[in-house]
Amino acid sequence: MHEVEAMLQRERQAGLPEAPDLRYTAAAVRRRLEGESRRRSPGLDAGRQPNGDWPLVLAGGGTLLGAVVLALLWGLPPVWLWAIPAVGLALCPIFLRKGA
């Protein structure tokens, strides 16, 4: 076992290929960090609003609420017959946005 340890020590002293240049590594790491941050906020990349999903959620919610209120006001029974398609309709823009 000691012989193997001595061989490891000798191999260690022999050294390795040089590590890359510090400035090169720093530049590469910075590029990767920038790439990561862009990937995490894709809205900024595509010229979209940072919180671009919120208007769609509000529009969907408004459409749904409107559909339910109208169904109730007009007394069109049963309510779920109108409410379920309305939910689907309201969610469409969100699914379209996610798929884009």
């Binding site: 490891l8 290929p17 590469a28 960090l33």
Partner: protein, 171 residues
Amino acid sequence: MDLETLIADHQGSLFAFLYRMCGDGALAEELMQEAFVRALQAAKRYRPQGKVSTWLFAIAANLLRDHWRRQARRGQREAPADEADEAVADPGAGAEQLVLARLEQERVRAALLHLPLEQRSALILRYYHDLTYEEIAEALACPIGTVRSRIHNGLGRLKQLLVAEEVASGA
């Protein structure tokens, strides 16, 4: 945590660790950069009681494990790179001792690459980076007893590999 300082302080040891773990300079460089990225992103969560180098070794070991898992899924085997061959001494140098020493280094590097990943990482951190058993346990996320057994078994396996290689080359 300052990017330049982190790289200046730890690039050498991190590259050496990864290079000895995979035997591939390009892969070692890529994973080293990724390890620095992960470290800088997680800098806020870093626990200051541990050494930064130990933490970086842990990140690098995880990245390497993930890389090999991905390769295994794609059906590629973990292959030591050919770069180790470049370390063979130039016969023109003349000195027989130098040639023999280079050959021994090459054999040791090749044998290390044939060890199981857990044993290899424990041996490299112990014998090339002088980490204590506690630090190795922290870097590899395992109990100290496991580190001891990995090092003991790793040395035994390394000896077997070197003897087998010697017999094969002498035959």
